[in-house]
């Protein structure tokens, strides 16, 4: 009886904490918004002339001009998605570090999850097996 009420208490506290945290708000800092946004975008772009670096990390001429270009596009009011899709059109999917979900990458995303499910079924069978 004593144990049970304690467990309930913990659950209650947990729920309260989670509810509080839902009320947290994301407030974007507006002053250097395009600066920060440029970083967010370039962190997801491959520097095409470098060896495995993002445009954000690279100091190459290509990366520097891309940073300027993206910043100006942002200031022209383009959204992240518009910038990404125009870059993919120009340079191909290769430039994006996030492969995204498309016909080509469907298996890439689902195969690990499928394996996880299969593993889960095997383990569940082991655990709930009756002799």
């Amino acid at each position: 009886m004593f144990m049970k009420s304690k467990r309930l208490l913990i659950i209650k506290i947990l729920i309260i904490f989670i509810l509080i945290s839902f009320n947290f708000k994301n407030v974007a800092v507006s002053s250097d918004f395009s600066e920060q946004q440029t970083i967010n975008i370039t962190k997801n772009l491959r520097c095409l002339i470098c060896q495995g670096q993002t445009i954000h990390e690279s100091n190459s001429d290509f990366a520097e001009s891309m940073k300027k270009y993206i910043k100006s596009e942002l200031e022209n009011g383009k959204t992240n998605e518009e910038i990404f899709s125009s870059l993919v059109k120009k340079y191909g999917q290769w430039i994006m570090y996030d492969p995204g979900i498309s016909r080509n990458t469907l298996l890439l995303w689902t195969l690990p999850l499928l394996l996880f499910l299969i593993g889960g079924v095997i383990i569940a069978k082991k655990i709930f097996r009756k002799i």
Binding site: S21, F22, N44, R46, G52, Q93, D98, L107, W109, P112
Partner: protein, 628 residues
């Protein structure tokens, strides 16, 4: 010249010895001797000796800059410091494969010495199976990657070593990594041998555990050194990029971690026999896959692979042969030698290990598929995609939360059956976890439910592991590695959320501000070293308490090969690293300065060391009865 020849012939003798050992041990197996003959042990010693001589010859050729040797010519230069002449030995394809071979023969010798009290036919079979791998690699080295090729006419100067490889951490990174990476080969041979000789039992588990821990510790160390190098040498303050070359070392590590937990269950409860064997095979197969990916050049582009396919195709064929061989052995002996106990899984440590393996294998599959999927897509559809951090974050992070929760409660479970209850102690742990997580999330200003849940999971693991120090029966190996792992996750998360950076183009004398710090560009000097010229920038940082911190980033211009590298200057403190790099802007007086705050960096390194320390405890622990 002579020495280089010696190295070459020593390799051939090594190959001949291997063939001899192969036949010798199969004859002995037929005779069913009860003791392994001194001759076999001696031969294994000789085999190692030959590779060792060959390896030393190559190092010697590098030291004296013997440019009649093609490998030395391609990768060394007379003006290089002695240390980098030596480390240049394994900083290239041919030399690194010779190192492969050295470790491959070395672990067999170690195994023969360590296994003196184990059944003779098991030891002989391990030797026999290991020789298949050894012979395969001897042929590979001699046929496609001979480190002792001569060039004529003899050159007077070499082409030099890539400057970014001229670094102390990267100098010792390959040997450490290879001890772990190639160390998995003996696990593979021993697992197959134990299956054939019907020796998959508690004793075997106890003994093979040493080699699993051995590989695991060195692999962890190797990955750590690689990350530290990437952090300060590549110049942008990152330490892990989910790059295929990194993934290739992470995959056997994940598989070894799963195997480690499995083999302890086998040792204590004689469970998971088949699964342990399968994991042993998978681990080594992953090492081979990694060797194939890195050594074939297919990672840079499928087209580089097409230019010189002989190396890649050899390793790939060899890998398939080994997998097929283990598959056949597995099918034949699967039911013959295994009397699997049928078990009921309840709330027990066995179940916890099952869940551990389930998640780790999932993480492994994410990394494996993420690494090789783009290659297949390129080959089959000629479409190029990049699989980078966003993919791994999305598929791994959400699963980390339940994983660490299971990881927290797993160790306090008992074998067979646990009566689980929440006592005052666990209540305190939960409350402190929540408080800590809320403070942290509030402090870093990342007010997001998902981040909060991640912190709750990681802090719970940390506090739960630490609270085990007060238990009556302690297992320091487990406590240390779990504590280290939770610290690692927390540090990485904090680091990724509260890193700050600023990039400015400024002249000498100018300054800029990041948070409460003022960064002043004092002056610039140019100095000449033995094999490079360096431009050093002198920076003063005034922190919030007006204390002065000096940082001196460099731009080095190496002479051979001609290449500029940017050397970061880092000031480490307990809670954050201050990280600065400079770059020249063409035809201008401005310098491109990148200044970063990287919080908790040192804790990423320390926690990895704690993980390794945990592994070492397990090796040196006396074999008394303790739980995992």
């Amino acid at each position: 010249m002579i020495i280089s020849q010696l190295g070459y012939y020593s390799l051939i003798f090594g190959l001949l010895t291997s063939i001899f050992i192969f036949f010798n041990s199969s004859i002995q197996l037929k005779k069913n001797n009860s003791v392994i003959s001194n001759k076999t042990t001696g031969l294994i010693g000789f085999q190692f000796f030959f590779v060792f001589v060959s390896f030393i010859s190559l190092i010697y050729s590098f030291i004296i800059s013997d440019f009649s040797n093609e490998t030395v010519f391609n990768n060394s230069h007379t003006t290089k410091p002695l240390f980098y002449k030596i480390t240049g030995t394994w900083g290239n394809h041919e030399g690194s494969l010779l190192l492969w071979l050295l470790v491959l023969t070395g672990v067999l010798l170690g195994f023969i010495f360590k296994s003196r009290n184990e059944p003779n036919n098991y030891r002989l079979l391990t030797t026999l199976l290991h020789q298949i791998i050894v012979i395969g690699f001897f042929v590979f080295v001699l046929k496609t990657s001979n480190p002792f090729n001569e060039i004529f006419p003899v050159q007077t100067e070499g082409l030099g070593l890539n400057p970014i490889l001229q670094d102390p951490a990267l100098g010792i990174h390959p040997p450490i990594l290879y001890l772990g990476y190639v160390g998995t080969s003996i696990i593979f041979s021993a697992a197959l041998a134990s299956m054939v000789s019907n020796y998959v039992n508690k004793n075997w588990a106890k003994n093979i555990k040493f080699w699993i821990l051995f590989s695991w510790i060195f692999l962890t160390g190797g990955i750590l050194l690689g990350s530290i190098w990437a952090y300060y040498e590549l110049g942008w303050g990152g330490f892990w990029f989910w790059d295929p070359v990194e993934n290739v070392s992470l995959m056997p590590w994940l598989s070894l971690t799963a195997l480690l937990h499995c083999v302890v269950t086998l040792e204590k409860r004689e469970l998971f026999k088949k699964w342990t064997i399968v994991l042993c095979i998978i681990t080594f197969a992953l090492s081979m896959v990694g060797t194939f990916l890195v050594r074939s050049g297919i990672l840079n582009s499928v087209h580089t692979f097409a230019n010189d396919p002989s190396r890649g195709i050899y390793i790939l064929t060899f890998l398939l042969v080994l997998v097929l061989l283990s598959f056949v052995i597995f099918i034949i002996y699967e039911n013959k030698n295994f009397t699997q106990k049928s078990e009921i899984f309840t709330l027990s440590k066995e179940t916890a290990v099952l869940i551990n393996n389930w998640f780790i294998l999932y993480f492994l599959s994410v990394v494996l598929i993420g690494t090789i999927y783009p290659i297949f897509l390129d080959v089959i559809l000629d479409e190029q995609i990049s699989v980078g951090p966003p993919f791994y974050n999305k598929l791994i992070l959400p699963f980390l939360i339940p994983f660490v929760l299971f990881m927290s409660i797993g160790p306090s479970m008992k074998w067979i059956k646990t009566n689980f209850r929440i006592g005052v102690k666990s209540f305190l742990v939960i409350i402190s976890t929540l408080i800590l997580s809320f403070i942290t999330v509030y402090y870093i200003g990342e007010k997001n439910i998902f981040v909060l849940l991640l912190f709750i999971g990681f802090f719970y693991l940390l506090l739960k592991s630490l609270s085990q120090f007060r238990d009556k029966t302690k297992n320091f190996a487990q406590i240390f590695s779990h504590t280290g792992f939770s610290l690692l996750l927390i540090s990485i998360l904090l680091n990724s959320f509260s890193s700050k950076e600023i990039v400015k183009n400024i002249q000498v004398g100018e300054s800029f501000i990041l948070k409460n710090e003022k960064i002043i560009f004092k002056k610039i000097t140019v100095e000449k070293e033995k094999n490079y010229e360096t431009i050093i920038g002198f920076f003063e940082i005034l922190d919030e308490k007006n204390k002065i911190i000096n940082l001196q980033p460099e731009i080095r211009i190496y002479n051979e090969p001609e290449m500029a590298t940017s050397e970061a200057s880092i000031k480490t403190s307990l809670f954050k690293d201050r990280f600065i790099t400079i770059n020249i802007i063409k035809d201008q007086n401005f310098f491109n300065v990148r200044y970063q705050h990287k919080p908790f960096m040192i804790w990423i390194w320390i926690s990895t060391l704690i993980i390794m320390l945990g592994g070492s405890f397990a090796i040196f622990r006396k074999s008394k009865e303790v739980n995992i």
